[in-house]
């Protein structure tokens, strides 16, 4: 399931929905991304983040997330999957994203969870605007995220 929303989410309740009443799920893996209060700038050391605004491309976001989820379910034997991504203005410590996968097999749940967040980071049309003491800055994409996504690419 895919959800793009401004509201926060309840991790326990969301994971429970994936498994409640099921007796065939051996493992649930999840990743929760949070707003950090520190920005690492190679040229300037650390700078404090006071808020972060998540912009997205309505329509394409949902489409791309659904495709990424479908890709995960094609690659791994999953009994359930969930992607929730928040948009709008968030403060440090707030939750941004939840990715969760449920499978009868532990490795399938763990690997597909990692796949989902890696691909989401490089393919879903979200952009982060960080507010700092020196003003608001659009976050630049990171090569390490591209590399993380690249290892899931099938040759």
């Amino acid at each position: 399931m895919i959800r793009v929303q401004e509201a926060d989410f309840d991790i326990g309740a969301e994971l429970a929905q994936l498994t409640d009443g099921r007796r065939d799920i051996g493992g649930v893996a999840c990743f929760v991304g949070l707003v950090r209060d520190m920005l690492r700038k190679p040229e300037a050391g650390e700078e404090s983040i006071t808020a972060m605004t998540l912009e997205h491309y309505p329509g394409m976001t949902e489409k791309r997330l659904a495709e990424i989820e479908a890709e995960a379910r094609a690659r791994w034997p999953l009994e359930g999957s969930l992607i929730i991504h928040r948009v709008g203005r968030l403060l440090p410590g707030e939750r941004i994203v939840l990715v969760a996968t449920a499978s009868s097999h532990r490795q399938a749940a763990l690997e597909s969870c990692q796949f989902l967040i890696d691909w989401l980071k490089t393919q879903a049309p979200f952009w982060k605007l960080e507010e700092t003491s020196s003003g608001a800055h659009w976050v630049a994409a990171r090569a390490s995220d591209d590399q993380a996504a690249e290892r899931w690419r099938r040759s």
């Binding site: 049309p125 630049a140 994409a141």
Partner: protein, 83 residues
């Protein structure tokens, strides 16, 4: 043709979307970007580094050779940074 701009591209262009009618010679994404650059210095500056301008046509990522047509929705945006 509906153009959409996101993140700093929206900021640099001062608008989130617009309706444009490129001339008949504009048949691909690359040609569309080239034509946009001729519209004003703001477009020229925003599109100067093509490596950081990603394009989606009708909600799909595409490359510079992809065709564009009058009814298309064309979105320009920087590399994504969600998650």
């Amino acid at each position: 043709m509906k153009l959409l701009y996101f993140a700093w591209l929206r900021g640099k262009l001062g608008k989130a979307s617009e309706e444009l009618s490129p001339p008949p010679g504009v048949a691909t994404v690359g040609q569309l970007l080239d034509w946009l650059e001729t519209l004003s210095p703001a477009y020229k500056a925003a599109l100067a580094d093509r490596r950081v301008v990603k394009v989606a046509v009708n909600l799909e990522y595409v490359g510079a050779e992809h065709p564009v047509a009058p009814g298309d929705e064309v979105a320009l945006f920087p590399p994504v940074t969600g998650g």
